[in-house]
């Protein structure tokens, strides 16, 4: 009995928020509780969901990646600003993944090998990338995103939009990868104590670099999905996405160096954000009210969780 209660205490707050909001929506807008509608809501957060996959990886090794905003902006710019006239779609995919991977590897190198503060490196990288896009756009501002990307974004498999399906598959793959491979064990070990992990035969630096690189790759993927969801180019990308991704990750039960929530905890963190935003919009909550409610809900969930895991 006590073990059941203890296990329940470890349920990440994300699940609680998700369940509560879902119940609320069922009661408030029963007509919206059909797969088609929910699918669209989930699609809205698919880019965030993929960034969260990246974030939870690096958070588990005790690091953080705030460079997502810059990577996404740069990819968005390259695709929309006609930098490569008539380039095939696959070229954009390669560029996005390439940029993500290179940035991730660089972050990893700086964090693992040069032992620089992860917050500052990834923030600085983001600032540089944003600045680079600003510089480029002063010569040639971004324009439209190719239509086929929007079309891809709009594909559905039954009620499931393609981006959502893609996101779920990606999450499943990552979960399996972390659960089944040596890599997953090493990540856990490093997160707990990187010095002890080194003594236990974990190639710490290499693993951290690899983790950041993988995170970068995932952010490259997120950049593609995000760009496909926006028909236009942009010159400004807030820090929203990285910070929200950190919040979703922690709400999902993954804390720096600890990964009780696994991969699905943060996944539900993102789902709760999706429902949170939707509920606010449906209720017509004004901007200040929205901020206050958002803060209080996150806070309440975290407190319930915090008290139970103490």
């Amino acid at each position: 009995m006590t073990t059941v209660l203890r296990a329940a205490g470890r349920i990440p707050p994300a699940y609680l928020v998700f369940a509560a909001l879902l119940a609320f929506l069922m009661w408030e807008r029963p007509q919206m509780m059909n797969p088609n509608v929910l699918g669209i809501f989930l699609r809205q957060v698919a880019p965030l969901g993929i960034v969260v996959l990246a974030q939870l990886l690096v958070v588990r090794v005790g690091s953080i990646d705030l460079s997502g905003g810059g990577v996404i902006l740069l990819v968005n710019y390259i695709i929309s600003a006609n930098v490569l006239p008539n380039a095939p779609g696959i070229a954009f995919v390669a560029i996005a993944l390439g940029i993500g991977t290179v940035v991730g590897a660089f972050n990893g190198y700086m964090v693992a090998r040069r032992r620089v503060s992860a917050v500052i490196v990834t923030l600085a990288v983001s600032i540089i990338l944003v600045g680079f896009v600003q510089y480029l756009s002063s010569g040639s501002p971004p324009g439209d995103v190719p239509d086929y990307m929007n079309d891809l974004f709009d594909i559905r498999f039954g009620p499931v939009p393609a981006p959502v399906l893609f996101w779920v598959i990606l999450t499943t793959c990552l979960a399996a990868f972390l659960n089944l491979t040596v890599f997953g064990r090493r990540i856990e070990a490093i997160g707990d104590n990187s010095v002890a992990a080194h003594f236990a035969g974990v190639p710490v630096e290499r693993t951290v670099i690899l983790t950041h690189t993988l995170a970068g790759l995932l952010i490259g993927v997120a950049a593609l999905v995000q760009t496909a969801s926006i028909a236009v180019g942009s010159v400004r990308e807030g820090l929203d996405l990285p910070i929200l991704s950190v919040a979703a990750t922690i709400l999902g039960g993954v804390v720096f160096g600890r990964g009780q929530g696994g991969v699905w905890g943060p996944f539900f963190g993102v789902l709760s954000f999706a429902l949170l935003f939707v509920s606010m919009t449906i209720l017509g909550v004004s901007e200040p009210g929205r901020l206050i409610a958002q803060g209080l809900i996150i806070f309440a969930a975290a407190v319930i969780y915090g008290l139970r895991t103490r």
Binding site: R114, V119, V130, G131, Y135, G257, P288, Q294
Partner: protein
């Protein structure tokens, strides 16, 4: 200290390369430009030393300008503002200690709540700031511009509290324990851990409120967005100054240099006529360059 060398380098280069930089007028501009970040960073440092983070700093700054610009006499708004800030900080601290909430989540939630409240009381910028606040920021005393006094005061307070008091030592002790994974090490020494961590969050909020007061005096109005990004900039300044985000290690002079370096970058690029389209790249690049030479023993945040 590399950031210090960079500061000296930039200062030398600007003094030689531009006519304007070394003028007293510009130097006092520079000080005034650096001041809000300096104040907020000192506050942020308290929290970072105990291995926390305060993301609500930016909202508290905006909130503080909004309160000051309320249509009420300064002798009411001024103390009220600090009381509310202390309350915000105490809530953060209690959440982190007693309620076991991760600092990022607790203070991010607080950031939203405080920003929401700020938007309620001041949807757009405006209002009038008490005269004494404006005078204390824009005026001068004995021919010395007021920001000089602000700088001396906050640095003196920061120094006393962080490096010359039991409270400061206890902050470092708690942070040192956290950094090495022995979360209750300081507690076993009889250090009242909970109380001190809560005080650190209160201090952070109070310093943020003070930064808000300075800003209100500078922009002579209340503004719901003025504190935007201060949380990240203050963390950046603190980390640039060599304070470890894992807790327990850091110095006030480092933080001051970090904050000063960030302000100097903007001022210097403006004076050196760097195009706004590449200012961002230059800023990010310099940040990266400076920080990449600050090797630490431990990896992570």
């Amino acid at each position: 200290m590399l950031p210090l060398l960079v500061v000296i380098g930039i200062v030398t280069w600007l003094s030689i390369g531009t006519d304007e930089f070394a003028r007293p007028g510009n130097l006092s501009n520079l000080l005034a430009q650096a001041m809000p970040l300096l104040i907020a960073s000192i506050g942020q440092m308290f929290v970072i030393v105990v291995a926390g983070l305060d993301l609500s700093v930016g909202s508290v700054i905006s909130f503080s300008t909004a309160i000051l610009a309320l249509d009420a006499p300064g002798y009411l708004t001024f103390p009220a503002l600090f009381m509310l800030a202390a309350l915000i900080g105490a809530t953060n601290g209690i959440a982190v200690t007693r309620l076991n909430v991760h600092p990022i989540i607790a203070t991010l939630a607080m950031q939203y709540v405080v920003l929401g409240v700020t938007r309620l009381i001041r949807p757009v910028s405006g209002g009038t700031v008490p005269e004494f606040v404006i005078a204390s920021v824009q005026g001068s005393f004995l021919g010395v511009p007021m920001p000089v006094f602000w700088a001396i005061t906050v640095l003196a307070i920061g120094w006393k509290v962080l490096h010359a008091s039991r409270f400061g030592l206890h902050l470092f002790a708690i942070g040192g324990g956290m950094a090495s994974g022995q979360t209750s090490a300081a507690r076993n020494f009889g250090v009242p851990e909970t109380r001190i961590i809560i005080s650190a969050y209160v201090a952070s909020s109070l310093f943020a409120a003070l930064a808000g007061v300075f800003l209100a005096g500078r922009i002579v109005s209340g503004d719901p967005n003025v504190g935007m990004l201060f949380e990240l900039n203050s963390i950046t300044a603190v980390a640039l100054g060599g304070t470890q985000l894992s807790g327990g290690v850091g110095s006030l002079q480092g933080t001051a240099i970090g904050a000063f370096l960030l302000a100097l970058l903007s001022n210097g690029m403006n004076l050196a006529n760097v195009s706004p389209f590449i200012q961002t790249v230059v800023k990010g690049g310099l940040l990266l360059a400076v920080v990449s030479f600050q090797r630490r023993r431990k990896m992570g945040l």
